[in-house]
Amino acid sequence: MKKDIILAGVGGQGILSIATVIGEAALTNGLHIKQAEVHGMSQRGGDVQSNLRLSSDPISSDLIPTGGVDIIISLEPMEALRYIGSLSKEGWIVTSTIPFINIPNYPDTEEVIKHIKAIPNNVMLDVETLAKNAGAPAQASNMVLLGAAVPMLGIEYEAIKEAVRKIFSRKGEEIVNSNLAALEAGYQYSLESTK
């Protein structure tokens, strides 16, 4: 088993909490992990990404080679496209459709969506609405996105749920349940849309 993932978003959106959950699940499953993060200046509202690598064999590089990316998981649609040049021909894009517009020259949103649709393997979802409908707060949107990526991850859904329980447990039962509900909403949406 080997999955190379790019997590993408804008500084402050919380892509690293997705990485934390996947990392926890992978570690419990005895997988090898490497995860390169971005700290420092770019966190201030700029584009951020994290290279997350999972494998049953030892992993050499902290960075994923161009063309080696299996999944782009993005909290922002244009940010998903930023890494398209690294995505393998068979790779997946799982992205939120809600644009984060903090620059004057943000491209036409409909065009951005159209470009993502042109990639054969894509899952696009309105993470905030799905979170809301699942009774979860907007902060749990990233768990909706993670849920949508679960079918491509190569890790059992149950293991991801367990990791969510473990990571959020210190915040109380209510937070755990709303994050699990958000995760489930994304998971079901993804299963439905990739049928």
Binding site: V10, G11, G23, E24, L27, H32, I33, K34, Q35, A36, E37, V38, H39, G40, M41, S42, Q43, R44, G45, G46, D47, N51, I59, S60, S61, D62, L63, I64, P65, T66, G67, G68, V69, M78, E79, L81, R82, I84, G85, S86, L87, S88, K89, G91, N102, I103, N105, Y106, P107, E111, V112, H115, I119
Partner: protein, 544 residues
Amino acid sequence: MKDNNLFYMRRLLLGDEAIALSAIHSGISGVYAYPGTPSTEITEYIQHMQKSTPESEKVFCRWCTNEKTAMEAALGMSYMGKRALVCMKHVGMNVAADAFVNSAMTGTNGGLVVVAADDPSMHSSQNEQDSRFYGKFSFIPTFEPASQQEAYDMVRDAFEFSEKYKIPVLLRVTTRMAHSRAEVETCDQKRPQNECSFPENPRQWILLPANSKVRYNTLLQEQELFEQESANDPRNKYIPGTDKSMAIVACGIAYNYLMENYPQGSPYGILKISRYPIPDTLIEQMLSDGIKKVMVMEEGQPVAEEIMLQKISSKVEVVGRLTGELPRVGELNPDSVRKALGLEPLKAHESDDIVVSRPPALCQGCGHRDMYKALNEVAAEFENSRIFSDIGCYTLGALPPFRAIHSTVDMGASITMAKGASDAGQFPSFAVIGDSTFTHSGITGLLDCVNNNANVVIIISDNLTTGMTGGQDSAGTGRLESICAGVGVDPAHIRVVVPLPKNMEEIKQTLREEIAYNGVSVVIPRRECIQTFKRHAREKKNNK
């Protein structure tokens, strides 16, 4: 060999965290550091660990004013026989250099390990200097781990080495090591901290010429021992290949990029380097394999490549960053290494040019924004305003919408450059510096201004924290006015304002009055960093 009586654990750790944890397990008594990307998380991890550490085992871990004070305090702790860790980003080495270089001359008593986190590709820095030069320059042995696991293991070895040879050890990492997580097997057996003891050779610590001359000769003689130790480190090794047309020297994490491209093993021999000085014996072993060409892969500047050029006869070609096989600038990655190896790129989707760049920006609600708005408007009232800025979040004032500043050079340079410009006839001459950068390296420059009654307006944009690196304590919080007054600034010209949109007229008026004053003015716009403000609000809510 694993000792079954010890407690092994598998953890997911950043390179920085692996270093921190290993330092704790090695029995340090103190960590001395000033925040700087990508080194900050080392000290933060040690600070975090103290919360669950019994009182008797706690270590000193408060932030220092700058890297030089950190290095010197650590040397003091080492003098007392205890182990100390010093952490900084690469440019911090410039600030600490006086103490660092001379620590090779004094030597150490308790183990002393200095971590320099280099930032090739300048993700969050103003240059990509290579700290290995400092090791070479100072004759201090340098360790460069190839993985997070090696980082964990090497910190232990570094402390042992430091105490064995009574010399500091430089541990050099780069951004991709510092800020990448990997699983690390840790041995959770904490070595007890050292008891206090004075150095065996007290004269060595008094660097009078008579003592230094003796010591320098010893230091040079010891280089051979250090090289021998490098040769004995199993992380330094020559792995023969089947294809003798070339061998590859892979330093630090370059080894990972190489192996990424040869998952089934490299056809070429590999000289893996994780420790300097590079032993001649290993270079000879590589050459005796009958190879025709040596390719050097290293993060940062061509340090090892120059060594190879010097040590290898011209009959064997040496290629790398200097010859263009690998890019001369920036960090390595699996792609640049793949290209150097002449392998076909993997198939990928086409890049999409609908994507536009999204540069970092000052946060919404940040006080620096209000400061720049006021300053820009007042500066525009003069024909030739010049604003010398500094290192921190407010450097982002260079970007739209502000485009406010004319320089950013090094920690503290805003004040001294504003003074030099004023000496040359510039009016009005502004400095913009943050509170933490001011205490780091601005106070001495302010004293120069006062002693010359320079006609400058110094804006200390005080957000009560070290913002860019994530909100660490700032050394002068609550005392900036008294520091400035103590240095000799006329208290009538130390003005505090609150940077909020509603106060815009007042801030502008204050600036105008201080421009009109012919002398040293300090204006302090003070409002808490919006990020630490939010964090404090969250903590308050959670504690309820």
